[in-house]
Amino acid sequence: MVPINNYLFLAALLFCVGMFGVMVRRNALVVFMCVELMLNAANLTFLAFARQRGDSVGHVSAFFVIAVAAAEAAIGLAIMIAVFRSRGTLNIEEIKTMKH
């Protein structure tokens, strides 16, 4: 029997790694991939709790997370294509028109 806590620890680790990646990497695509990593960590948490409680509601949540992540990926990548087309770079540090 694997204690559920192990899965939760793993999910927490994945989440933190993903968060760190979002803050540190300069390529926008890699940032996006780290966001996907965080979403997967959330999925893992849902499924772990579903197993612990013994009902399938967590599975439904994970299902919807996957669907929404798909939609988000589509639009996000389209935006990145548009940004690349207008600025010629995907380096986050060079895309800061909101600077004071």
Binding site: M1, L13, V17, M19, C34, E36, H59, F64, A70
Partner: protein
């Protein structure tokens, strides 16, 4: 050490290493491939959690569709080469790193207080727990509205992606 625990450790470590590669890899292509690997190993973890349907969906949708989309975009924009800019230390990275570690600690603290045993399931439920049938049962009855909403969301996403990415409308 039984089989389940061993599998957990194998898959878990592999997932973690894949995640670390995603964050640390030089080129976006390497990050993408690492992410695919991570997703596969995650699917394995899901199976260990008796979430078979979700595991399959993970492989089909996440690894099979979303990551393919990523790879298309990477190759379309010719970003496969490694980044050449020099590494730099920024103050926000320190803040981010510190809060990450802090969050990890807090989450760890919270998780360690949780009950560890999975629920005891009866034999009938053992057979159907995590199966596609059970999933479908719940989604099409209790959660029908969110299901339909998500389908609408997907439609909007498709249209949006087309509109945003077009060079000229």
């Amino acid at each position: 050490m039984n089989g389940e625990l061993l599998l957990f450790w194998v898959f878990g470590l592999a997932t973690l290493i894949g995640a670390l590669f995603v964050v640390a890899a030089r080129s976006p292509m390497s990050s993408a491939m690492s992410l695919v690997a991570t997703f596969f190993f995650l699917a394995g973890i899901y199976v260990l959690l008796w979430a078979h349907a979700i595991a399959v969906l993970q492989v089909l949708v996440y690894a099979g569709a979303i990551m393919v989309l990523f790879l298309f975009v990477i190759m379309l924009l010719s970003l496969a080469e490694a980044e050449v800019s020099a590494p730099v230390l920024r103050f926000s990275w320190l803040v981010g790193g510190a809060s990450t570690l802090g969050l990890l600690a807090v989450l760890g603290l919270a998780i360690s207080r949780l009950p560890a045993q999975p629920a005891a399931l009866g034999p009938a439920q053992q057979a159907s727990f995590g199966s596609l049938g059970t999933l479908g049962q719940i989604v099409y009855t209790t959660y029908l509205l969110p299901f339909e909403a998500v389908s609408l969301l997907l439609l909007v996403a498709i249209l949006g992606a087309v509109v945003v990415a077009k060079a000229r409308i």
